[in-house]
């Protein structure tokens, strides 16, 4: 069946096109919109984008396969990226991965049998000071231990991603400064501070931050 964006998203595409002097520059933003709606970049999505932006399907496939965050196969309801680069591994990244494998019953690259979680291994997610961490959909969960991870996954499964993010996502937990050394900044110590939880309970600033996977 042919793919089409919702009318609201179509309008967003029109808006995106005004930002660049060349149509092709809208390719990544439009692919993002499609993936948020469809869950992955299916052949139908590729056809649609080719038509919408006036590009060949070969060009679009070339781009989709270059970037790790575009899925060219269906994924589970939620995607968990476990960071396994050095800073995270120094603080227990491997045990986080092992725990997830046991809990979800699948290895990285695969989806749990209930279809709820796809487990993927990530290279550095730029949250090294808050290691170990995982990304679930659009949210970062930092300063993890396995108990915390269990709670996050359980809330995810029972109440959904938004509830889990509101309760556990650290957002900018590193950013709660404490004075030291005549005014230098130091970050909040793990685990996520009250301030971080409070930040997380704010409604996200736009729909695109909500990890919406309609």
């Amino acid at each position: 069946m042919a793919f089409a964006l919702t009318p609201e998203r179509e309008q967003e595409v029109d808006d995106i096109l005004t930002r660049y002097p060349e149509r092709r520059a809208a390719l990544l933003p439009v692919l993002w919109l499609c993936q948020r709606q469809n869950g992955w970049i299916s052949p139908e999505v590729v056809e649609y984008v080719a038509e919408r932006l006036g590009l060949s399907t070969a060009i679009i496939k070339g781009v989709v396969t270059f970037y790790t965050m575009f899925f060219d196969e269906p994924v589970g309801e939620n995607v968990i990226w476990v960071c396994r680069t050095l800073s995270c591994d120094l603080r227990g990244g491997k045990s986080i991965q092992d725990h997830l494998e046991n809990k979800l019953g699948c290895t990285p690259g695969h989806t749990s049998s209930d279809g709820k979680f796809t487990l993927l291994k990530a290279e550095c997610l730029a949250a090294c000071g808050q290691a170990p961490m995982v990304q679930i959909n659009d949210y970062y969960y930092e300063n993890l231990d396995v108990e915390q991870l269990d709670r996050i996954i359980d809330v995810h499964a029972s109440k959904g991603g938004e509830a889990a993010a509101a309760e556990f996502s650290s957002f900018a937990s590193f950013g709660v400064p404490q004075g030291s050394r005549d005014g230098s900044v130091t970050s909040a110590p793990p685990p996520p501070s009250k301030e971080a939880v409070r930040l997380a309970s704010q409604p996200p600033p736009s729909a695109d931050a909500t990890g919406e996977e309609s």
Binding site: F71, C124, G129, F174, T186, D208
Partner: protein
């Protein structure tokens, strides 16, 4: 050795909902932009950035003022500002804090910079994973536009400025400036041959300045204080100001710290990050992201010659040399992003190295053979060493592969792989030789499903 009396770059981090315009403005946001756009000349602003001696905060350390000076647009050419927020260098996590906690500082810097270099559009290229930062920035941009700071007539002057956020989709190489430009144009993020440099022919074929988030976020302070005064905040000549340091790994208080340019690694680890976790001995520290060759605290600076730039620190530990772009280059490493990865004595350096080389193998864009094949080959050799299948010759093979990658590719990715690899072998050779004989027990995990994911898609 003066500490700044107040925080600059991070001064608004602690403010309640400081990412909202009203709160940021109460703490001074956009005052400098208003003053700069309504009362000052672009040439003056450019001069201040030059005098500030701000070395690019993205890792290469090129003087931002000099980079701006390369612009010389022909008639009819539009100048673009592109802000590199593709923060992905392992160990580095500073730019996200600016975007999440004080997005208006970045936007204010972008406004002033656009005015200074005669650009009308700035794109902020944010790595795809940071959906939250993208949302924060977009909200802040909307507020700034609403307030009349962006748009057709920012602050009432006749110089339209628009700032757009462009989300990447997961590719470390897009932090390389020409790969970033290709990605922004809707292409695969493959680096371009240079020259032409972006200042001559950048995004959409137009003259383009690509600066790191922290660099642009420093511009309001530079313009407010004056370039000379801002530069003098730093402790080193030709390397000015304050910057955001990060520390991860085995320290008591990992996190971000604002401090002047030129503190030492020992200060950063002990005084700022609370020292090594559990009081254990410090074994090694990767100073500024994974591409910067490792420091060994047990090694002494060898600079007996009085003319040597590091002579002052002759005989002291490597980690007692002030952290600057030039001092660290003289030390045989790089300052990079100033985000250090600290390792205590429990870490096996061969395994640490394997972890990082796996990263480079995954992230090589594949355009150039030495890089595409070299990164994979390094991982294979390191896998063998860790699994106890290695030989002593493998250690020299690592050096040989690295030397054949350096300088033989379009961009600096291969160098950024080979340099830390060579540094590891040079400084911890005995450990590599030991692994060649004994392997690295408990250090390896062959997971074919992981590999098939990495190489074959979901």
């Amino acid at each position: 050795m003066s500490e700044p009396t107040k925080r600059l770059l991070t001064s608004r981090y602690g403010i309640e909902e400081g990412w909202k315009l009203a709160n940021a403005e109460r703490a001074g946001a956009y005052e400098v932009a208003r003053q700069a756009l309504t009362t000052r000349q672009p040439a003056d602003l450019k001069e201040q950035v030059k005098k500030a001696n701000i070395r690019g905060r993205g890792g290469a350390g090129f003087p931002a003022g000099v980079k701006w000076g390369f612009l010389n647009p022909h008639d009819g050419e539009r100048v673009y500002l592109v802000i590199n927020a593709d923060e992905s260098e392992p160990g580095t996590f500073k730019d996200r804090s600016i975007m999440d906690l004080d997005p208006h500082r970045l936007i204010e810097g972008a406004i002033i910079s656009c005015f200074a270099i005669d650009a009308h559009v700035a794109y902020i290229y944010v790595r795809g994973e940071l959906a939250f930062s993208v949302a924060r920035l977009e909200q802040a941009i909307a507020e700034a536009r609403q307030a009349g700071y962006l748009g057709e007539r920012p602050f009432g002057i006749d110089h339209a400025i628009d700032v757009y956020v462009h989300s990447g989709a997961g590719a470390y190489i897009c932090g390389e400036e020409t790969a970033l430009l290709n990605s922004l144009e809707g292409k695969r993020g493959e680096p371009r041959l240079k020259p032409p440099f972006p200042a001559v022919k950048g995004v959409f074929g137009m003259p383009t300045i690509v600066n790191n988030v922290e660099t642009i976020a420093s511009v309001p302070d530079i313009v407010e204080m004056g370039g000379d005064a801002w530069s003098a905040l730093g402790r080193l000549p030709g390397d000015g100001g304050v910057r955001i340091y990060g520390v991860s790994g085995h320290v008591k208080n990992p996190g971000l710290f604002e401090a002047p340019v030129g503190i030492t690694m020992r200060e950063l680890i002990d005084d700022y990050a609370g020292g090594v976790l559990g009081g254990r001995p410090l074994k090694a520290v990767i100073p500024g992201g994974s591409s910067t060759p490792v420091l060994d605290p047990g090694r002494k600076v060898d600079a007996p010659d009085e003319g040597h730039p590091l002579h002052k620190w002759h005989g002291q530990s490597e980690i007692d040399v002030p952290m600057g772009v030039d001092t660290y280059r003289a030390l045989g490493t790089m300052l990079g992003t100033c985000c250090a990865i600290v390792m205590d004595d429990t870490v096996n350096m061969v395994e640490a190295c394997r972890n990082l080389m796996r990263f480079y193998k995954h992230e090589s864009c594949g355009q150039c053979t030495p890089c595409r094949e070299g990164t994979g080959w390094l991982v294979d050799v390191l896998d063998n060493l860790c699994a106890g299948r290695g030989t002593p010759e493998d250690v020299d093979l690592l050096v040989n592969i690295s030397n054949n990658m350096m300088g033989n590719t379009i961009c600096a990715f291969a160098d950024g792989t080979a340099m830390p690899m060579l540094g590891m072998v040079q400084k911890f050779r005995e450990e590599f030789m030991d692994a060649a004989i004994n392997g690295v027990p408990d250090g390896i995990r062959h997971d074919d499903s992981v590999r098939s994911m990495v190489e074959g898609g979901a």
